[in-house]
Symmetry: C2
Subunit: 214 residues, 2 copies
């Protein structure tokens, strides 16, 4: 189960993608799949697929490819915890609510089981299938539910103080949708997903490409 083995975060991301593609896009009843087929669906090279799949311990045969079921099981062994892994969401605004409904039921082993907000109109209620707690209960709820992963969707001004509280409460991984970069101590994994940065980057290159065509 990858103990002590280093694995790059991009590899983990692609394994997550391969599994979904195997579950959803490989026609039912197809017992085997070639690396080049998976590569086409994932928009990467076949060599990349083969390298990534080495971490699962699965090996394919040149004539038949990989057994689909073995691949799904192998990836799940790397990615999934045997028990349900619980996730917390902090910030139940428009984006937070969209995140809740997006992830609802998507992966049985990875569930947003607690959300937090400062707004008393939201706390104490179940919003999009998830109970919303006041911030004052954050440390207690995270401890009780053994939550180590959090999604942050609070305004920029509250993001760093919320992060500090999450880290002090035992969080080891943060997916950040707040529009500001975060500082975390070593040993806490952080993935930044600033939507403004993404959109300004895409708009910049779209404009350049459009101008070059003229």
């Amino acid at each position: 189960m990858m103990n002590g083995v280093t694995i790059a975060s991009k590899t983990v991301g692609r394994l997550s993608l391969y599994r979904r593609l195997l579950e959803s896009s490989i026609p039912c009843g197809r017992e085997h799949v070639f690396s080049h087929e998976l590569a086409l669906l994932a928009c990467v090279t076949p060599a990349q697929v083969r390298r990534d799949l080495m971490s699962t311990g699965c090996s394919g045969s040149p004539g038949k490819g990989y057994r689909t079921k073995d691949l799904i099981d192998g990836i799940s062994k790397v990615l999934d915890y045997p028990e349900v892994q619980r996730v917390a969401l902090v910030g139940v605004g428009n984006l937070g609510r969209a995140i809740l409904s997006y992830f609802s039921g998507r992966r049985p082993n990875l569930r947003i089981t607690a959300s937090f907000d400062t707004d008393p109109q939201k706390t104490g209620r179940v919003i999009n299938g998830c109970r919303c707690h006041p911030m004052s209960e954050l440390t207690a709820v995270l401890g009780r539910e053994s939550i180590a992963t959090a999604i942050l969707a609070v305004p920029a001004a509250r993001a760093q103080e919320t992060t500090d509280l999450l880290v002090a409460s035992g969080i080891h991984g943060i997916l950040n949708y707040a529009p500001v970069p975060l500082r975390v101590p070593e040993g806490v994994f952080l993935e930044e997903r600033d939507m403004t940065m993404s959109l300004e980057t895409v708009a910049f290159f779209a404009r350049r490409a459009a101008l070059e065509r003229k």
Copy 2:
């Protein structure tokens, strides 16, 4: 204006971030800022900041740093189009609506001015400040409004066909929130923002870090 000069997408993303930090986090009236101050806020190294800012043509002085106003103007010259740059959103579900309200008024020069959906309950209405058109009008609306940038928030099963239609209708940059990778022709800039991939990656490293602490 960067004509013919190559600039990495990560640099563009960081310039977007520096500008927001200069506008929001540098105390009012501070006429100058040092690269190490900006680096601290952006969670990058001072050398990275100085390298990135070279693309804006701004230069700092060793004793005083950069003039804040010059930096904001210099970054805007790189990132912004002199006119408003319009963006289309395809898919006005929970995530699409959250994206609309998130970007509403956030950057005056970059605006989501048209949205599209297949649901007749949504089309013809103004949702979160943006008119929702039927998919059949996509090509006409994008042409009329000179839109070259699109955000995709449709279900996985519709993502590739929608992308093909966007590209055929003159889109040159796509920010993809659909949970499936896209194939685009050369010359179209694509940024993938698969939320499941992000969450599974963060959860994986959070679990590892939590286990190592035990």
